[in-house]
């Protein structure tokens, strides 16, 4: 029985750590990501992940005609500028923030509803050992105008 006690403690500790990391990410999305959306109203969807330098995340979303959207892509300070691009169903790049001074937001509206894909990348930094690679929260949030 005693043998299992450390395992149980470790499992509880690990769960606590993971919940804490997730909670930090939610806090980051609320405090940082949401502010970038202003004056647009956040749609209420929560999309954030812990990413490490060099990693990517993707988001698929249908955007509707008649709405004006703002997308805000934000990362923890230690990750530096986050790259993001928006592509359509034909894989045509509609926006790439690396061509626009690494801005965090993009405002757009549509004449016809479309499925869009957001590709987010944390740039890999050079000259770092594996131990020095940074991780942090990256949030992808959408807002709209009434």
């Amino acid at each position: 029985m005693k043998k299992f006690i450390p395992v149980v403690i470790l499992a509880i500790l690990a769960t606590f750590i993971s919940i804490n990391i997730s909670a930090q990410c939610k806090g980051f999305a609320k405090k940082v990501g949401k502010i970038e959306l202003f004056p647009y109203i956040h749609d209420g969807n929560f999309q954030a992940a812990i990413l490490t330098e060099g990693e990517e995340a993707e988001l698929y979303k249908t955007c509707y005609t008649g709405q004006q959207y703002r997308i805000a892509v934000c990362g923890s300070e230690n990750l530096g500028n986050i790259e993001f691009k928006i592509v359509d169903a034909n894989r045509t790049v509609l926006f790439d923030n690396t061509q626009h001074n690494m801005v965090k937001i993009w405002d757009f509206k549509l004449e016809a509803s479309q499925q869009l894909k957001v590709i987010v990348k944390v740039p890999a930094s050079q000259k770092k050992s594996e131990a020095d690679v940074n991780s942090g929260c990256v949030s992808i949030m959408f807002g709209f105008k009434q």
Partner: protein, 304 residues
């Protein structure tokens, strides 16, 4: 030395378990150019690239966005369409509470966009009951209710409260390893938006009807629903709703959408990009009627 090895092994276990438990959203890896494009094939292409992404999100319209889409399309307000408040006592299982959390928040969003102050308050109260029943801590608390009451005539603040409430609820479920319930809540909200839209069209002519156009557009979001379900396919609650969604997909598959190539045009004054393109669909009255009936059946099964 032995202690060091054990400590290292212990740390590895912590990191491994933490890694598998982590993920802010609970892990969903879980034109003017006259070339007509049939998106019935292309909408799949968007998913077909080989992905190197660590995390993949499939985003459905939130309750707030669903309500806004309906309103922008010219819908009117019809309170009898809302899920009755009296139904709240029927929802005792986690699945029913998660579905109806999404449904009630969509109703709440719809009411608030039409400045229905009292209804907004009442639907926030039943949403709170659903959230409390699911053990969602502090997504809707006394502070939320007080803030809503104090700002009941300030639509921007109300919309912010609704947005915050939904985000906190689904994030709480996701981060507590209850991703399937977060998904179910999203699907519940999406179905409610579709129900309101199809019922608001009623027997009106579907030609040149913007609400019908937005209903057709939901075919694109249905792809996201299918992906979300696939990511949670082993969950028993998800398994229960899967046949209904598949049936709905069967009806939507009869609708073909053609869209032209997108041309992004930037307004230099506002810095807003317009994605210029146009689309057409082959929806007919019989297909619309079938769709309306299918949505109604799903919504009835969700709310009874």
């Amino acid at each position: 030395m032995l202690f060091k090895l054990r400590a290292h092994a212990a740390l590895s276990v912590i990191v491994a378990i933490a890694f598998f438990n982590s993920g802010c959203t609970g892990g969903n890896k879980s034109g003017s150019n006259e070339v007509a494009v049939d998106t019935s094939g292309l909408e799949q292409n968007i998913f077909e690239d080989i992905s190197h992404a660590k995390q993949i999100f499939y985003s459905l319209p939130s309750p707030l966005e669903s309500a806004l889409i309906i309103k922008t399309a010219g819908a009117t307000y019809s309170e009898p369409l809302l899920n009755p408040l009296s139904n709240v006592s029927k929802y005792t299982t986690n699945k029913a509470m998660a579905i109806n959390l999404g449904i009630y928040i969509t109703d709440l969003s719809y009411a608030s966009l039409f400045d229905q102050a009292q209804t907004t308050m009442k639907y926030m109260e039943v949403s709170k009951k659903m959230a409390d029943g699911l053990g969602i801590i502090d997504a809707i608390n006394k502070e939320t209710m007080d803030r809503l009451e104090e700002n009941i005539n300030n639509r921007d603040v109300i919309l912010d409260i609704i947005s915050e409430t939904f985000m906190s609820s689904t994030a709480f479920l996701a981060e507590n390893d209850r991703q399937p319930l977060a998904t179910i809540s999203l699907i519940g909200g999406w179905v409610e938006g579709l129900y309101l839209a199809t019922q608001l069209v009623g027997d009106k002519d579907i030609k040149n009807n913007k609400i019908v156009d937005r209903i057709v557009d939901q075919k694109l979001s249905l792809d996201m629903v299918v992906k979300l379900i696939a990511n949670n396919k082993d969950n028993s609650d998800i398994k229960e709703i899967t046949p209904q969604i598949e049936k709905l997909k069967g009806v939507y598959d009869k609708i073909k959408i053609s869209t032209t190539k997108i041309e992004p045009v930037v307004d230099e004054k506002t810095n807003v990009t317009t994605l210029k393109s146009s689309s057409t669909s082959n929806i007919s009255q019989p297909i619309f009627n079938e769709l309306r009936e299918s949505v109604k059946n799903i919504r009835t099964s969700f709310t009874l």
